[in-house]
């Protein structure tokens, strides 16, 4: 059974609000860069950056990070994850890096992303922005910016569909067998 829980407008509003929070918390965007986690976080990071750029009227660095090599479940997955592009466009030394992902669940991807990021340099701060926080954390990780908190059971799954234009965005909750 699946249920649409966020539509196009909900998502646009959430992204706009998160953009404002990022600018506010960091008192501007100097020394800031966004890094989306492959694959769901990359487009979200781009969307966030356009909003931020509209607010601040300047350009912000956006990167993409593939965490495949840093995962802790290589031997337990049925299929090997496909290695995707990592593109960090600027130095991250002494920067504030906002990691961006679509769904925050167990926290393991974020752990891997932080390990991956640190192989590129030593950021001053790492912050986390997610569109959906569905709970069930397995590691001591929390996000700084949340689009929407959605309570779920562990066996549910959340699917996020967003594209660059923001025309067909939606978030769907699929009830799992418990």
């Amino acid at each position: 059974m699946s249920k649409k829980i966020l539509d196009n407008n909900d998502i646009n509003r959430a992204i706009r609000r998160m953009a404002h929070e990022i600018v506010e918390k960091n008192k501007g965007i100097e020394n800031l860069c966004l890094v989306g986690i492959q694959k769901g976080g990359v487009i979200l990071a781009k969307r966030l950056s356009s909003e931020i750029e509209a607010i601040e009227n300047c350009v912000i660095d956006v990167g993409a990070l593939d965490i495949t090599f840093y995962r802790d479940d290589l031997n337990t997955k049925e299929e090997q994850p496909v290695v995707k592009k990592t593109d960090i466009p600027c130095t991250i030394n002494n920067k504030t890096v906002v990691l961006v992902d679509d769904v925050l669940f167990t926290g393991r991807s974020i752990r891997a992303a932080m390990d991956a990021l640190i192989d590129f340099g030593r950021p001053a701060h790492i912050q986390l922005a997610v569109l959906i926080d569905r709970g069930h954390r397995e590691l001591p990780i929390r996000s700084d910016y949340v689009g929407k908190n959605i309570p779920t059971s562990f066996n549910d799954s959340i699917e996020v569909f967003i594209d660059e234009e923001g025309k067909k965005d939606k978030v769907v909750l699929i009830k799992g067998q418990s």
Partner: protein
Amino acid sequence: MFKSKDLLGIKELTPEEIYHILDSASGFKDVLKRDIKKVPPLRGKTVVNLFFEPSTRTRISFELAAKRLSADVINFSITTSSVVKGETLKDTALTIKALGADFVVIRHSSAGVPHFLSRLLDISVINAGDGSNEHPTQALLDLFTILSYKKKIKGLVIAIIGDITHSRVARSDIYAFTKLGARVRLICPPTLLPAEVDQLGIEVFDNIEEGLKKADVVMTLRLQLERQSKGFFPSLEEYFYLYGLTAGRLRLAKDDAIVMHPGPMNRGVEIESEIADGPQSVILEQVTNGLAVRMAVLYLLAGVKK
């Protein structure tokens, strides 16, 4: 995607599996360009390099690939003579198992040894060259290199020059190139052409000029110098006269043809120095790509359920 725990040869792979390895390899090629060239997926794993034949290049490439993936590496180099005196291959294999290794990378002068080990061991076996059978990671790095220049394999004319009979590189390359739709030409004296090889869907030329015409890729193989004393050809000079890759001959290939060699080269025997060092040569690129491809293979096999 990957079903086998081992990489025994290209023969056993599907085109999808080949592309999967190559796609992963490009991810690793990016890693190799970073400041910190090491990633953690094989942390806590042990790779045994079991080399029964001297081979500095392939061993170093596998060793570095494993280390870049944070694996521990043991190099087990065994000269054939000590094997004759003592331990059997079976005992060596069981020793490696007892050491708790997760991968064994095997190079052996006898074809089929990786298959033998794969039956004996439940860990991943990677063929780093077995007799005249296969050298799959070499073919994968060759594909990767060609793709990076030509963007596709299908329809390319790829000429392989040299000792096909004794070449595991040639065999793996033939399987790899034909599986992905290239047109493969073998250029060699009939004495160095394996039996009934035409059944592999390739073209055979004993005239190098004919074979090089309009080729997109020109690959020369290393000529083992002892073949001459075995009577496969009368002299190295005559071999070079008939089959050496020279600037004049290379002009028969396409203008943008690339020149490849699995190394180590015998300059002046199978290839002119000017070509080896020339603008069309991608020989050093092959070495770099070998690292990325071997990282991809180790990484992908680590993910196969055993």
